[in-house]
Structure formats: structure tokens, C-alpha cells
């Protein structure tokens, strides 16, 4: 029951450190996205733990190349772990395809690594239908990953429908942030 929260930590860390690097979910929603996600999952305890890693990050990037795990490279496409979707849609746009390809490449060359795809929907419409919609989105990402050579057993799919919103407001910006698939390593 309690393991879920710890699995959220990587995303939180990523967002806390690299809030500015995440790809923009909507035309105007970028700032809010980072803020809200931070509120909903971050805590001071986890933040402190990341400051050390943050120092390493800047040192490595000054040197011009990344020598650690590619997953930790803040300038890699792999740092983007949230893909956003249009209303009632599960189709994947060109921006997202590039990100998915980067993740696919990483996973294909690291067959021992697995990723969890968490599908989400905004609050409009019924809860069970949205559970299906979240899964459809996660499965769309899964299909692309597999098309790029990722093995089935490296991918776990779960939908949370509208049950785990990233933003709690009832408006278009908030809904755009909630229609998403999160890649959790």
C-alpha cells in the first residue's frame, strides 16, 4: 500500500530539479505544471535528498558530457517523463514521439530496466470511462515503445483514470496537465 508513494519520488525529483526542462504541456501551462506537481508529490524531505545530486549535475554538465546513468542526465530527452494528451484522445503528437523514441532506445539497450506507464485522464466524463481512457493512453505509449524494440516484460501499464490528478483546479489549464502518461523508472 505504501510503496506507491516511493515510486513517485523519481518523478518528483526530476521535476523539482529540472522543472524548467520539461516539455510544455500546453501553450500557457508550463509554469503551472511544474508548480502543481511539486505541491502534490514533493516534500521537504525528498527535496533535501536531491540537493547533493544537484551539485553533481552542474559539475558534470560543465564538463560537457554526461558520464552517469543516462536516466539522470537533465539535458537528455529521458528527463521528460510526462507526456500530455488532447481531450478525449490517446493519439501521440510528434513532440511526444521523439521523447518516446529516446526512452525506447534507452530501454532497448538496457533490457534489465523496466518502466511503469501510468495513464491519467482529466475529470470530465465518468470515472470508469476515464479509467479506460487512461489505460488507452498508456497503451498507446507502450505500443510505440515496443515498436522501437522494447520488450513486453520491460513495461508495466496501469491506469489511474481521473483518480490522481496532477492539478486540482477545474479549468482548461488544469485539465491539460491531468491528461497524461507518466513514465516511472
Amino acid at each position: 500500500m505504501f510503496t506507491i508513494l516511493t515510486r513517485w519520488v523519481p518523478i518528483t525529483l526530476c521535476l523539482l530539479i529540472f522543472a524548467g526542462c520539461s516539455s510544455s504541456p500546453t501553450k500557457e501551462g508550463e509554469q503551472e505544471g511544474a508548480e502543481v506537481t511539486e505541491q502534490s508529490t514533493g516534500s521537504s524531505g525528498t527535496y533535501e535528498g536531491t540537493e547533493g545530486a544537484g551539485a553533481t549535475t552542474s559539475a558534470a554538465s560543465e564538463a560537457g558530457s554526461w558520464s552517469g546513468d543516462p536516466l539522470d542526465d537533465p539535458y537528455s530527452l529521458l528527463a521528460t517523463r510526462i507526456l500530455y494528451f488532447d481531450f478525449d484522445q490517446s493519439s501521440i503528437g510528434m513532440d511526444n514521439r521523439e521523447i518516446i523514441r529516446a526512452h525506447a532506445e534507452y530501454l532497448a539497450s538496457n533490457p534489465h530496466v523496466s518502466v511503469r506507464l501510468e495513464g491519467h485522464a482529466d475529470e470530465r466524463g465518468t470515472r470508469e470511462y476515464n479509467l479506460g481512457l487512461g489505460e488507452r493512453r498508456a497503451n498507446a505509449v507502450r505500443s510505440l515503445l515496443m515498436a522501437e524494440g522494447v520488450a513486453d516484460n520491460q513495461i508495466i501499464v496501469i491506469s489511474y483514470g481521473e483518480e490522481r490528478p496532477a492539478s486540482m483546479m477545474n479549468n482548461e489549464e488544469s485539465w491539460a496537465l491531468n491528461r497524461r502518461v507518466e513514465l516511472v523508472y
Binding site: T126, R127, Y129, E135, E163
Partner: protein, 432 residues
């Protein structure tokens, strides 16, 4: 060990939260509601053993809340008779009261009571009904609701649904952690009890037809499963744990089968699980999202939501499987349908001008009537007597419950003091 911890956890979370009652206010009532007076019931025992509940006040509140009655305030009563021979009908005719309830409560053994009440037609000066009901201190509220049911049935012609309960989900986010609870309260919002408390999403509670069990979906340990929990013991079992979605449980009218949504074969389809034979029968097999199954009262059909036509619409299929036929044609989004107790209506969520609202569809005529007025209304559930529909709506950013009569004339709001409350489901009629 894990199982033991879970039991302990459930046992700990069993405590009723006294400050979490639902408060109910009627926002609109029926014009020309029936004027009725419920005289305070006279206590015939010693003062120090006076019952802790004001039985007649509970009855009065129930009748008032239904929107069908105009109840006379106690201060306006000219007399407080406790039995038929004390009633002066002209006292009540003067006040325009058409029906009168009088009663008395006697001690019955050390902890029991006997409640006697009579219902009169004031203009004819006749008794319409009268009962003598033994009860206990702990059951006083329930007995009061039963009496309100008897009065309602006598005067309105359909059984009352006051002695019923409502299950619902609450959630509260504090410091980044969300707590999701499954609760049960009396239909008047009193005596709420938490029966499941979780830090992961929990959804789609469904009462068994005997009202003794609730099925729900929970995402514990990172995957969805359908659970059945005994309401009065807290014992529970996991019914399904397939890969993917295990959700939207719906009991067959005979309580032996559970319709559900499973995505184990790649996308959400409807299945029926026979709890006696433990066999699972696929009902739909389509690449679309098929979900939200609900049984017809005769058990012969299931309605469900499917976006096989592009957008979510309601379809009907024989409950043993077969060809699905589309039921809804008005509006581009219709979902989460369920049957009225008489099987003649469906209540569902429909989208109109970008707003999600509760509607009823008359299956014979195909006429759909939108009943609610919110922008994001969801989860409609019929009262077991078919009179009202309870659903979730937004009040500002918060999610609250509301109820509307099937004709759209009576409206109520049910609010918790804090947090969100959603997915209300009305219990079956309590049989005793």
C-alpha cells in the same frame, strides 16, 4: 502477515468519524407539498431514562427532506396529543394540516422501547394506519426511519426509502498525501462509518442486493483489483486481480454474479463472474472501451458504456452475452447508465453544451430528460424506491453530493464539512 496487517488496518479505520456527517438541505421542494404534523411522541417512562433520540423529530425531518411534505413546526401546534383519543381534529383543520402523526414511547425491559404511532386523516377524522414497534436504544434512529417509510408509503403510494443507507467515497489531500475513504451513512447523513481507508485510489462501490456487502475497485499494491467487503464485519476478499483494469463491479439482482470491467485481454471489456461456480464469462469483446455494466432488475440484460461508435454511448446486451444494441442517440456523450428499480428508466451522465449532467431516459419512449444543473455532475444512483437520484456535483472546487427527484421537482444538497465526497450509491431497501 500482510493480510493480518490489513485486517488490523481495517479494524482501526472502523471508527465512525463524528465530525464528518453529511448535512442535507433542500434547495427546492414540490409546490403543493402535503401538509402534515408530527406531534412529539410522549415518553411514558421515568425522566432519567428518556430516550436519547427524538424519534418524532427524525420522522418529521425525513418527511420534510423528501420534498413531498410540508411539516408543521412544533411551536405552531395548538395541542400535543399522544394518542387518537386525545386528538381534537378541528385544532389541526384550523392550521391547514391534512395528516397528523401522534405517538408514544414506553420502556420495554431494561434497554428496550415500544413505540406506538397513529397516522390520521384530519379532514375525515379517521385513522389511516397505526403500529406498535419494539426497538432498542441503539436502533431508535432506524425505527424512526421505518416509521417515516410507513407514513410515506401510506400517503404517497410507494415505499419510503428513509431506512436506507448511502455508500460514498471521500478524499482529502493534506501535505501532498491523499487519503481516500469508503464510507457508509444513513440516508439522512447521520452515523457515517468509514469501512475502508486507503492512500491509493479506490472507486466504484456497489451494494449487494441484500445490503450486506459492498464490492469496489482498489489500486492497492500498484494494481487494480475488485474486492468484496462484508459491511457489518469488515471482512473482505479480493475477487479479481487480472492484469490491467479490474473495476466497475455490479451485482446481479440475485446476488450470485458480478458484472465487471476487465482489460486483461488488452482493452476494457465487460465480463460476468459467477461467484458460485467461480467462472468468468466474457460478455463483450471489442477493441473499444466497454465499461460501467449495470443489470436490468430482471437480470436478463446489462447496459454498459462503449465508445465503439466513436464517442461513449449506452448499449444493451443480454446478460449471458450476445449482440449489443445501442440505447442512447441523443447527445454525443452518454455514460454510466443504471436502471430504475422498476426497469422503465435509465439514469445516466450526458454531455450537453460541454456540461456533464444527470439525465433520465425513458426506455419505452426514448425521451431523455436532463435533471441536474451542474457542469461536472456524475455517478447517478437511484433510491431503492425509485423516487430520487443521488449524484456527485461540484460546489466551487469541492465535490459534494446532491439528490434530485425523478421528476426534477425536488432538489437536495448533501455536503461534508471538509474534503471531497463522490460516487454515492444508495443501498437496497433494508428488509426486516
Amino acid at each position: 502477515m500482510k493480510y493480518l496487517l490489513l485486517i488490523l488496518f481495517l479494524a482501526l479505520s472502523w471508527q465512525p468519524a463524528a465530525n464528518a456527517e453529511l448535512t442535507i438541505e433542500i434547495t427546492e421542494g414540490v409546490e403543493g407539498a402535503l401538509p402534515i404534523a408530527v406531534v412529539p411522541f410522549r415518553w411514558q417512562g421515568k425522566t432519567q431514562t428518556t430516550p436519547r433520540e427524538d424519534v418524532s423529530a427524525i420522522i418529521q425531518a425525513d418527511l420534510h427532506r423528501s420534498g413531498r411534505f410540508k411539516t408543521l413546526p412544533r411551536n405552531d401546534m395548538l395541542a400535543k396529543p399522544a394518542s387518537g383519543d386525545e386528538v381534537e381534529f378541528k385544532d389541526w383543520r384550523v392550521l391547514g394540516v391534512e395528516n397528523l402523526v401522534v405517538g408514544q414511547i414506553q420502556p420495554n425491559g431494561s434497554k428496550g422501547f415500544i413505540i406506538r404511532f397513529q397516522l390520521f386523516d384530519v379532514f375525515r377524522g379517521e385513522q389511516l394506519t397505526g403500529y406498535s414497534i419494539p426497538t432498542t436504544a441503539g436502533s431508535l434512529r432506524t425505527t424512526a426511519h421505518h416509521i417515516a417509510d410507513l407514513i410515506y408509503e401510506q400517503l404517497i403510494g410507494v415505499p419510503g426509502a428513509f431506512a436506507t443507507r448511502v455508500a460514498y467515497i471521500t478524499s482529502k489531500t493534506e501535505g501532498g498525501n491523499t487519503q481516500v475513504d469508503l464510507r457508509i451513512a444513513d440516508a439522512d447523513g447521520y452515523s457515517p462509518e468509514t469501512i475502508v481507508s486507503s492512500d491509493v485510489p479506490l472507486m466504484s462501490p456497489a451494494w449487494s442486493p441484500d445490503g450486506r456487502k459492498i464490492a469496489y475497485a482498489s489500486s492497492e499494491k500498484g494494481s487494480w483489483g475488485i474486492y468484496i467487503q462484508e459491511v457489518y464485519t469488515g471482512r473482505r476478499q479480493k475477487v479479481t486481480a487480472f492484469k490491467g483494469i479490474n473495476s466497475a463491479p455490479a451485482w446481479s439482482p440475485d446476488g450470485r454474479k458480478l458484472a465487471m470491467t476487465l482489460s486483461k485481454d488488452g482493452n476494457p471489456d465487460i465480463f460476468v463472474f459467477n461467484m458460485t461456480t467461480r467462472k468468468l464469462r466474457p460478455i463483450t469483446r471489442h477493441y473499444a472501451i466497454d465499461t460501467e455494466p449495470s443489470w436490468s432488475p430482471d437480470g436478463r440484460h446489462l447496459v454498459f458504456t462503449s465508445d465503439r461508435g466513436g464517442k461513449p454511448q449506452i448499449y444493451r446486451v443480454p446478460s449471458f452475452g450476445g449482440k449489443a444494441e445501442r440505447v442512447t442517440f441523443q447527445n454525443a456523450y452518454n455514460a454510466r447508465a443504471s436502471y430504475s428499480p422498476d426497469g422503465k428508466l435509465l439514469t445516466l451522465v450526458t454531455r450537453e453544451d460541454g456540461r456533464y449532467r444527470i439525465a433520465v431516459l425513458d426506455l419505452a419512449s426514448g425521451v431523455m430528460q436532463v435533471l441536474s444543473r451542474g457542469d461536472l455532475d456524475e455517478s447517478p444512483s437511484f433510491a431503492p424506491n425509485g423516487s430520487m437520484i443521488i449524484y456527485a456535483t461540484k460546489a466551487g472546487r469541492r465535490s459534494v453530493l446532491a439528490a434530485v427527484s425523478v421528476d426534477g421537482r425536488v432538489r437536495q444538497k448533501l455536503a461534508l464539512q471538509e474534503g471531497d465526497v463522490r460516487e454515492p450509491v444508495w443501498s437496497p431497501l433494508q428488509k426486516n
